[in-house]
């Protein structure tokens, strides 16, 4: 009968005794530890709730961090960000759990003298509720994670669910212990928290595990569709796509100008097959936000999917990533103001960090096409290995110099541009001046006044800079070249938007400003005329959008080139990206909101290159290009403020 002390049976019995609440029932002592001396149920509830909050923070924060990282790619850029996010979420969950436990404790104290509180019934009931809530929450969190990483790792899923079950049971037990202690304090009863037997705990855990698996598969979000993007195989149409995005373009003003002055380059660009784009998908409650609009155009997805809701976002203290800052509700604005005030958050500009969908040039690059993109909204930080990307911060970086902070990709392009920067800048200035000279019939000052002249010239230099950069990085072999021109929108907003937003301007001043805007159309025409040279097999896509001032004018897509014919059609802004990808022979993702505008192409082309589909493009790449330099966050905000984008 004698047994050596290191008999494995003793080890097993020790574990089973622990599960029955003997030996070191650490959680119980931890939960009730600070309550020594507390005689009132409320103070016991308060002190124990704090400890439960600590437990919840430690148990839930890691899971929540993983889930949030999956929901917001690029938010967690490394271990440091993960730690900071976990701390934030830990604080959040800790406070929330402590508050919930305290409320539960107060309720328990109130009903402790009732029949329902007799024995262990009430604590057990509350423990079960907490366990179920926690398990449901963790399971759905995990679902958001696997929605993006796919179902390819069942072992991970089973492990995660097992951890979720253990975590939930532990928290439920902690709350049960607290409830028991409160009943003792309130009624003087002697019911101490009674541990469940090893067998019943095992059975409960098994049932909970099964429930979590069912919830995971049954919940509507978890449709089980494969989310791992398949490789993209293109069927080349032989076309080279050139995309020009003109912000602030009002077709009524354009038509008005062309009655008196020819605008050949713009006219050529805008002729061809056209589609009027429904702006309901593009605006936010009637307000045009450029980051939101142009990301919708670039991704073929609505803002709810692509995640860029507005130009202004918030950077959370300690994190490299950022979070969206929607201003729709007074509560949201109040929270934003409060967190800004305590420096927990600070203003930032929309970037690729918030974007959860791939742009059409990223998809094309992934399919093996040579792509360049210049100055599109929310392109910083430039992803690694997604063609040539000159982000919306590229000009700032080129001006400031120094090491890259992912403003340009690949890095060698930055080196080349930086070496030639004075020359390129000179080219842009000369181009803008030449365009201005070609647009004027007399001295600029007398035509539109000093103020408007300065605005027009500054905007023209900005657009010229983008066109020069595009011409520099685009080669005849480039399959897709994209440029975004903000000048017209900036000029329009500063000359009309800001003026009408304050006290009424004099009619003569307004007239000169209007003249300034008209002049800008002419300048833009000259700029395009002098920089654009069509290549063989080109399809030119010109996307115009009325901008912040003329929101009601309507957006438009114009296409001309090989294989183009048909139209006009009425479509949505989300249809632009699939249309461009179709023209390049790239398969379309079934989960894209937009569909290609086949009506704008010859029947021949559509028959020869039928639309092919893949399940998904997947989320944007998390890895960014070279990111060692000083971030230009402050400079970016100052620049956008000077251009009238942010206040």
């Amino acid at each position: 009968m004698s047994t050596p002390p290191n008999d494995p049976r003793v080890d097993e019995l020790r574990q089973r005794l622990r599960s029955l609440g003997y030996l070191d029932a650490g959680v119980d002592r931890f939960v009730l530890g600070p309550a020594t001396g507390a005689r009132r149920p409320a103070s016991l509830a308060f002190l124990s709730s704090l400890r439960i909050g600590v437990l919840a923070a430690l148990l839930l924060a890691p899971a929540a961090t993983i889930g949030l990282s999956a929901r917001m790619p690029n938010l967690v850029t490394g271990p440091r960000d993960a730690l900071v996010v976990a701390l934030y979420l830990g604080a959040f969950f800790g406070l929330a759990a402590a508050l919930a436990a305290f409320i539960a404790g107060v309720i328990v104290a109130r009903v402790s003298r009732t029949r329902f509180a007799h024995g262990n019934r009430l604590p057990r009931f509350i423990g079960i509720i907490v366990t179920l809530l926690c398990l449901g929450y963790l399971t759905l969190w995990w679902q958001t994670v696997i929605a993006d990483v796919g179902w390819s790792a069942p072992v991970w899923t089973l492990s995660a669910l097992a951890i979720a079950v253990a975590t939930s049971l532990l928290l439920g037990h902690a709350v049960m212990v607290m409830a028991s202690a409160i009943i003792v304090a309130a009624s003087g009863g002697g019911a101490a928290a009674r541990a469940e037997s090893w067998t019943s705990m095992f059975l409960t855990g098994t049932v909970a595990f099964g429930g979590a698996v069912l919830l995971l598969t049954w919940w509507p979000l978890g449709n089980g569709s494969p989310r791992t993007p398949p490789p993209l195989t293109i069927v080349p149409t032989g076309a080279q796509a050139r995309v020009i995005a003109i912000d602030g373009f009002d077709s009524r003003v354009f038509d008005d100008i062309t009655r008196t002055r020819p605008l050949p380059a713009l006219r050529a660009a805008l002729d061809g097959a056209t589609a009027q784009l429904d702006t309901r998908d593009l605006s936010d409650a009637g307000r045009i936000d450029p980051a939101r609009v142009w990301t919708t155009v670039a991704t073929g997805q609505p803002p709810a999917v692509h995640g860029v809701h507005g130009l202004e976002t918030r950077r959370v203290a300690g994190l490299l990533g950022s979070v969206p800052a929607r201003e729709q509700s007074p509560l949201g604005r109040a929270i934003r103001g409060a967190t800004d005030l305590v420096r927990l958050t600070r203003p930032a500009i929309a970037s690729g960090v918030e974007r959860r969908a791939k742009t059409f040039w990223e998809v094309a690059a992934e399919a093996g096409l040579r792509t360049t993109v210049v100055n599109w909204w929310a392109t910083w930080p430039a992803p690694h290995d997604a063609g040539t990307v000159l982000t919306d911060r590229a000009v700032l970086r080129l001006e400031h110099g120094g090491a890259l902070d992912a403003e340009v990709s690949p890095p060698h392009v930055y080196d080349a541009l930086r070496t030639r920067w004075p020359e390129l800048k000179g080219q842009a200035t000369a181009l803008a001046s030449a365009a201005l000279a070609a647009s004027l019939n007399g001295p600029i000052d007398s035509t539109i006044g000093d103020e408007a002249a300065a605005v027009v010239l500054q905007s023209a230099r900005l657009d010229a800079m983008q066109l020069v950069l595009q011409a520099t990085v685009t080669t005849p072999a480039t399959d897709l070249s994209v440029v975004y021109l903000p000048g017209l929108d900036i000029a329009q907003h500063r000359l009309l938007g800001e003026a009408t937003g304050n006290e009424p301007a004099r009619v003569s001043a307004l007239s000169m400003r209007l003249e300034g805007i008209k002049l800008y159309y002419v300048m833009l025409d000259r700029l395009l005329g002098s920089t654009r040279s069509a290549v063989a097999n080109e399809i030119l896509f010109v996307i115009t959008e009325p901008g912040r001032v003329s929101a009601d004018a309507g957006a438009r897509l114009s296409i001309h080139g090989v294989g183009v014919g048909g139209g006009p059609v009425q479509r949505s802004g989300v249809d632009v990206a699939p249309t461009i990808l179709f023209a390049l022979g790239v398969p379309l993702a079934r989960d894209l909101k937009g569909t290609p505008m086949l009506e704008l192409f010859n029947r021949d082309l559509a028959l020869r290159y039928p639309v092919r589909y893949v399940e998904t493009y997947g989320p944007p790449a998390a890895a960014t290009t070279d990111k060692r330099g000083q971030p230009l966050d402050r400079e970016m905000i100052d620049r956008l403020r000077s251009l009238g984008y942010v206040r």
């Binding site: 019995l13 020594t36 101490a192």
Partner: protein, 288 residues
């Protein structure tokens, strides 16, 4: 560790014996004599001592806790009489003497057991103000009732000559021993107006100590000396005991660890709980 009863026990034992003698002299008719026979048999009075120590630890006095301690000892004596009956464990020897039913017959023994139970509630009702008395009575009822002594004894009887799992064995021990240990500690704390955290700590102490006490009981049944234990050995041979699961050495080891865990539960009280720690050391090393 020593098998000797700690020195401080004497004071508390004497207080308990004195009050029990005063309340139930054990003279008169057969039922009274039968009650006294078991109640005044030589005993260490572990439970009453635990009650009084718990009261002192929570700022009360041993004297104020004494009636509660005596009531608990009455309940314990009652459970011993019932436990030894032929329909139950059929044990012939208890506390070095013939079992109660052997001495007085089964009918009188059963009546004596009921009499002791009754007396326990009477002591509580007579000794404390109504509010505290009601709480203590509820505590006793819970320790005796369907989830306490009775449940433990029922499970024990049903499991006789059957192979049972460890969880069922624990439930039996929790009911038969742990519940009254827990009630002893909690009752002492309640008479002193102890707070919830103190009650929880003492409850954890009693829980671990109670199981250790029962494991040692199982061990004494296997290799104890009847002359020292005062009862026949190997009476539990038909039953699954803790020793069945862990062996003798393993049972000794786990009993020691349970006593250590009981000590750790007293951490919030600091050095003031040293007497209780001595009690757990005594339980771990007891030979009788």
């Amino acid at each position: 560790m020593s098998a000797a009863v700690p020195a401080f026990f004497g004071v508390y034992q004497a207080k308990t014996d004195r009050l029990l003698k005063q309340l139930l002299p054990g003279t008169g008719g057969p039922v009274e004599r039968s009650m006294g026979y078991t109640l005044h048999a030589p005993s260490k009075r572990v439970r009453p001592v635990l009650t009084m120590l718990a009261a002192e630890l929570c700022g009360g006095t041993a004297d104020h806790a004494l009636p509660a301690a005596a009531a608990i000892e009455c309940v314990h004596a009652s459970s011993l009489i019932l436990d030894d009956l032929p329909e139950m464990d059929n044990a012939p020897l208890r506390r070095g003497k013939p079992a109660n039913h052997v001495e007085f017959g089964e009918a009188i023994a059963i009546l004596a057991a009921f009499g002791l139970l009754n007396e326990a509630y009477a002591i509580i009702a007579r000794s404390y103000e109504p509010a505290l008395g009601a709480k203590l009575a509820a505590l006793l009822a819970e320790a005796i009732g369907g989830d306490g002594l009775i449940a433990g004894q029922a499970a024990d009887l049903l499991a006789t000559e059957q192979k049972i799992d460890f969880e069922l064995l624990e439930r039996i021990h929790r009911g038969k021993t742990g519940s009254l240990f827990n009630a002893s500690a909690v009752a002492g704390s309640m008479t002193a107006g102890g707070d919830a955290a103190s009650i929880a700590a003492l409850s954890a102490f009693a829980k671990n100590l109670g199981l250790a006490f029962q494991i040692i009981d199982d061990l004494l049944d296997v290799d104890g000396n009847p002359a020292e234990t005062g009862k026949a050995i190997r009476t539990d041979a038909r039953k699954t005991t803790f020793v069945s699961f862990s062996g003798i050495d393993g049972a000794h080891q786990l009993a020691t660890e349970l006593c250590e865990a009981a000590d750790r539960a007293l951490a919030p009280f600091g050095r003031r709980a040293d007497n209780l720690r001595e009690l757990s050391a005594f339980v771990a090393a007891r030979q009788t």
